[in-house]
Symmetry: none
Subunit: 254 residues, 2 copies
């Protein structure tokens, strides 16, 4: 699924600030196609201010009179809702975008439609939607701000896009490059470190060979759980070496 084939449509948004915030939310998640159906206000100061660096989305936004115009080129129209509708619409969870995009035909264009701040989408508008995506809010306080809903769904769109294009450039960025010191410590490195720890603890008197109190097994469990890398093994051995040095200095009274 290409992010450019996903359009977010805001219907009769009353607050320009919400439009700006929605543009910013979309851009952080790699979405660029914004359509506004009869916005009550649009290019206000608050709109630009909350858009931060997403002014290009505002400049290129498609502004139309009706939802039908906004979704005319789309093959699938998905309504959004923060609560379940009495009318039993086919409902999906935001997380189901992965499956939905995965099943979409090549070149499919998908619209995700957000209703008014106060009243959501009308039944006529819902009639244009093939499905409803429901954000699982609590029942007694279900009203997400429209730009917050845009952020959640933009995030889920991106998750789905990344999951489907598992070897896209974006994912390569997420993938860690491994520096030499970040390589996992070998079994040998670890064993040498544990010997070093043991001799240090014998030196300082912390480990009493007569009464070892499971100390070595407990340290092993702790450090094994951390999956140490090579540079961390060096860091720890440096600490042990400094403890040994100090204990010898104390013993020799210098």
């Amino acid at each position: 699924m290409d992010s450019d084939n996903i359009k977010f449509v805001l219907v009769e948004t009353s607050n320009g600030g919400n439009i700006g915030a929605a543009a910013r939310a979309m851009k952080t998640m790699g979405l660029s196609q914004l359509a506004l159906v009869s916005p009550c206000e649009f290019r206000t100061y608050e709109c630009y201010s909350r858009a931060a660096g997403a002014l290009d989305l505002l400049d290129n936004a498609l502004v139309c009179q009706t939802l039908e115009e906004a979704v005319a080129d789309c093959t699938q129209v998905i309504g959004t809702s923060a609560r379940l509708r009495s009318l039993s619409w086919p409902q999906i969870e935001p997380h189901d975008f992965t499956e939905l995009f995965g099943n979409a035909a090549e070149g499919a264009k998908i619209a995700v439609v957000f209703g008014r701040e106060r009243s959501g989408l009308s039944n006529t508008e819902l009639g244009l939607c093939s499905q409803l995506v429901v954000i699982p809010s609590v029942s007694d306080f279900s009203s997400l701000n429209v730009s917050a809903a845009v952020q959640v769904l933009a995030y889920e769109v991106r998750r789905a896009v990344l999951a489907l294009a598992s070897d896209s450039d974006d994912r390569k960025v997420v993938k860690k490059t491994v520096k030499p010191g970040d390589r996992p410590a070998s079994h040998e490195d670890l064993e040498r470190m544990y010997s070093h720890l043991e001799s240090t603890m014998l030196d300082t008197g912390y480990l009493n060979p007569e009464n070892p109190r499971m100390m070595m097994p407990r340290f092993r469990r702790l450090f094994n759980r951390a999956s140490l890398n090579q540079s961390e093994v060096q860091l720890l051995r440096g600490l042990f070496a400094s403890l040994e040095k100090m204990s010898r200095r104390i013993k020799s009274g210098s």
Copy 2:
């Protein structure tokens, strides 16, 4: 996982409107525990207006001077970031909350920490975090609005809570009884241990204050990754203390 055991902490938020929007975002997802560390502005008109019906969260918000205070009662502190850090922190995706909560001990308290609008979290603040949750934004426009980030993570928290609640009966059978020493170390325990480690390393000369070589952040990362329990913190502190003890013993000539 009980939603009341999950605290969202906003650090030095500069815009009161963002705090209000964050409160609303949390409430829609059933979260109630909001903490504010030195907010630049708080009870502004915009704050109340963007909170909509979430005024109770604002009224009950814990306001503190430092991040340490805000997370003192938490057993796990998770930082948030919209981008990868050069220091390879243990990183999880928002979706991994399900696994994280599922593995959490009974009664664990978890903090999710959000940084400043412009500069995020400082390295010192990141040092308090055991993990970093990264919202997968695009690399060239990664800056989510802080309240939008709160909405995404609150949504993922709720998804995880709902997912775990649905199979809670199965889990009850599996849940182990926890011995006192096996309880996760609190943030305070860990901080005392890090202070102890630091003073020991200064004592032995391993840590050079003129050239600290990122030693403390590297140790923090290592031990935070291991999710130490209380008895392991004691085990480590015993090692650090053994030098002091030895030096006293030798001085007293015993």
